[in-house]
Symmetry: D2
Subunit: 316 residues, 4 copies
């Protein structure tokens, strides 16, 4: 299996810190080919000890969330949809790191929600795999391995979007359903799609409350599929049992509106009347928060595949 | 078992349309006593056919969400906590009703999110129990019986809060976890607690997208417990396996902040350091939307009981 | 001129801390009669020194924003509009007080926007009239007398709304245009209107940033007028030159939407087509923030009277 | 005076549709030099009649808000501040155009605030200069010439930000105070600053309610000044009498928080204690909405220069 190692393949030897089609692709991949991408952690691998000072780390790196990519998907044209089959995620190191940051997080003032309070002190949490395969910080902060990719995106048409931002083409959704076994659908806005991924998490709760999950470097195995001529406007996720849509916006209710509006659209593809789908999701939809910390908040709406596909009554 | 029938017990023969301590209690109940409350549906039982016109129904009723109560809880003092053990919910009729409303709902303009568009046309959906015990509208809009109480509240100190509003003392949270088998903790703000419930739903998805679930009249069986001298500031819910907190506010991110901030507070009661709890919930918390339609939005944060109680490492 | 002194007239000798029709009116007033209302400051007159501890003050008072009222307006029926002509505001004392509060204000965490930071320390600022008639704290914190009423409301139909809350019937809008020379229009939701006012400010900027203006007791002189059979849904303000509407909601954009949507409605009363009014306000409307600190945020939209009345082209 | 004509100077003959340092500068300008920039209107000059169909126009153009730039400012280094003295704005044509758009505007559903309603019909409004120099559509929609630049920006570090977006480096703030006689301060994030402007408006109200002002092509005369080694984080505006800061974010209260937090920072440069400045702006700050329609909302906070400079007491 081909391995995409950003360090070796990018012209600068650097990761990308934006989702865009401005840089040259680091690789070209055919639909159907299984490939592995090596990804760096959100801190560019520079946060290596609990005594590291976050401000020093931040000055050393070019930005948060280094991305592996852009990967050019052969045959993808603007207006198509890219389906990303997530096959596997393996840890890149024997540890993960999280931290409480003085100006980033769900319960701290930040760049947008400004306050006059004295900032919280930064605090770094290291986790190492123990012999049970759990990520162990201490007897109480100890979590199972439930990996997913924090960022997954295609390039927007003209913008170069910060790797901190979730948006229409995916990005930093920090959505735990972007995980092995699931399929992520992304809009293709430029020829070749210009695919990016990175910011893998060993585990993360809903909301990513303090702003950093168990951040890891990883080897991500994927396979691409193109749906020609199908245009979607926001990301979709498919698990074996559920259809999901992700909306990313502020305030959070707008993210929720997008997610459900998009799920209604998806259901109309199975023959639902729009108002009936609206009624249906009222009674049976799920709606959780993927992140409440990033430059946009991400909400995930879900519906059972069988229900959406109108096999519901027959089998239940 | 004693049955609290609002029609017979209230001075006016009327339901209450606010959460408040202004009216005389309709009943006085001792902690530990099992009681049943008869509740009316959100439309006061007036929406009885798909050809009914919502505006006509609205003019006939005093307000949305008629409440059974206030019920005076003997021994409850301001500053205590009321635990409500939900034992059972039985349907009051053989049907449920939902509707799409032109100026209420997650994807329609409304009283606060004003738009210049032509309003959506109202549409009423009736559901009847079929022989499999499902609520049947047609072969695709057909849902299982998963009942819960849309409203549950104690009275605030001085306000009379609309029965449409979720707030610190509970209220119209439209939270599917307010269901049989779970325990709801509510702040007691006035002596006697002045308990209300109503607005039962046969089933509802997360968010209550169109604004009305499968609305039913019901018989709700409860038991009360008082925690003397324990002051909480927002509702808590306990399922057999999880601790939950509910935040209700606008924008939705404030509801999320409240829910998680309150869950951190709860975890400190088990010995957690506040920052460590913040870190822990980042990795293992759940956060779903109960309603995205009411005068405040409600978000529910969850954590495993074993984890919160620090039994985690030992047993997992 | 009749003086309404709440201390003497209310059954309890107390101010009201909610806007509601539950208490007995303290006075009955005819339209056209000039009356004076004595109002207490937001701290119920209990914050009398810079060394006072806010928590102690808060425990002594029943709530924030003591209100003078309810005043029963003879002839006002639910569905009418009450016009309040503000004639004069005189200071009740020779000082005003403001404070920075640890959990209330535009740039501090608060009850809804929860944070884990250490709270700001409370700080009290006293101001005394100097010989130039300015309110003087020190050479830099020294402000002219520009008084207005922070709260002005009629009672809602069934609710008792906290005196901290701005809402459809007015309330705690903290809007500097509620001042002598202007006319405030309020919806009448119950017979007699049940009018309240209080929380006067010697001066306040737009947004009431830290949460407390130069808080004063005052003597407010008013005259009432009823527009029979005219139903409005949110407050309006008329200055000699401008029509204004106030929206109060969260998030702030919803307050802005309400304000402009209501101003469009007002313009249609002068013959404007709705879309043309929407276009017109785009080019000539004003939109400022009255408060960014209360339980709802308040935004004020304005348009020139001459323009709205379609005298524009003729005279400009 | 040198004229920067984007059509002739850019490599592609095209305007820019993002704020970024990716393209080659179209011109290099020294601080102190007076230059004129020719700017195109928000519709790229393609909307030329009231019978034009917006969707057709949108398909013809690459994006909204074509920008003139990037202009390289000699001597500007990342970490400096760029002061832009706005000297004059002249109309490029004898007409201006506005429109109500079905999915953009303050009171219509849009890309983020999704609704299920039938969209509003697009409607185009043309305005021509009449002999009094007013922009005339009809006798009621007729406005004076009060021109300003809707967009003004320096390039961000790594991103390419859509010309529809207001952000830390300025951008599409749609702020009527970006006008002749005023000075706009912008952060410099890359060497050379990479300055952009465009989207001029003949006039616009506060909020830009329907989403499009009186859109014009223009000739903008400017002069640049660099403050070496001074780092600001959000735009500032200086009028002859006032200091202003602009915050752009969602929800709108975050934009308000940024604006006032930045104005407090500015005041500390004149010797104010941070808490005293917080108190001061509470009583004397102004806070208006520049736009309630763009991808971020923009709020403008203001304070009198004399007051901020602590000349207040002496002279008032």
């Amino acid at each position: 299996m081909r391995i995409i190692d950003q360090k070796k393949l990018s012209a600068s030897g650097e990761y990308s810190y934006v989702f865009s089609s401005y840089p040259e692709p680091v690789a070209r991949v055919n639909p159907g080919e299984e490939i592995a991408l090596l990804t760096e952690d959100a801190f560019a691998g520079l946060l290596t000890s609990e005594t590291d000072v976050l401000e020093v780390v931040q000055k050393k790196r070019r930005g948060p969330n280094p991305q592996t990519g852009p990967v050019y998907i052969e045959g993808a044209k603007a207006g198509d949809t890219l389906k990303v089959h997530i096959l596997n995620i393996e840890p890149g190191r024997d540890w993960a790191v999280s931290c409480i940051h003085k100006s980033f997080g769900g319960l701290t003032p930040n760049k947008f929600t400004r306050m006059i309070n004295v900032p919280v002190k930064d605090k770094v949490y290291f986790y190492r795999f123990n012999k049970e395969g759990m990520l162990y910080h201490n007897d109480f902060l100890c979590f199972p391995w439930k990996p997913f990719m924090g960022t997954i995106a295609t390039a927007p048409d003209m913008e170069a979007v910060s790797a901190l931002t979730p948006f229409e083409n995916g990005g930093n959704m920090d959505c735990p359903d972007v995980k092995p076994g699931n399929i992520v659908w992304l809009p293709v806005s430029v020829d070749g799609a210009y695919f990016f991924t990175g910011d893998c998490h060993a585990i993360q709760g809903e909301g990513e409350l303090c702003g950093t999950a168990l951040e890891i470097s990883a080897k991500v195995t994927l396979k691409f599929e193109i749906i020609k001529g199908k245009k979607i406007t926001w990301p979709r996720i498919e698990s074996p049992d559920e259809y999901m849509t992700v909306g990313s916006a502020r305030p959070m209710e707008d993210a929720a509106r997008i997610a459900y509006a998009e799920l209604i659209e998806w259901m109309t593809e199975f023959g639902w009347d729009r108002l009936d789908a609206y009624q249906a999701l009222t009674q049976t939809g799920k709606l959780y928060c993927a992140n409440m910390v990033d430059t946009n908040y991400s909400m995930v709406a879900k519906v059972s595949k069988k229900f959406a596909e109108r096999q519901h009554y027959i089998i239940q």
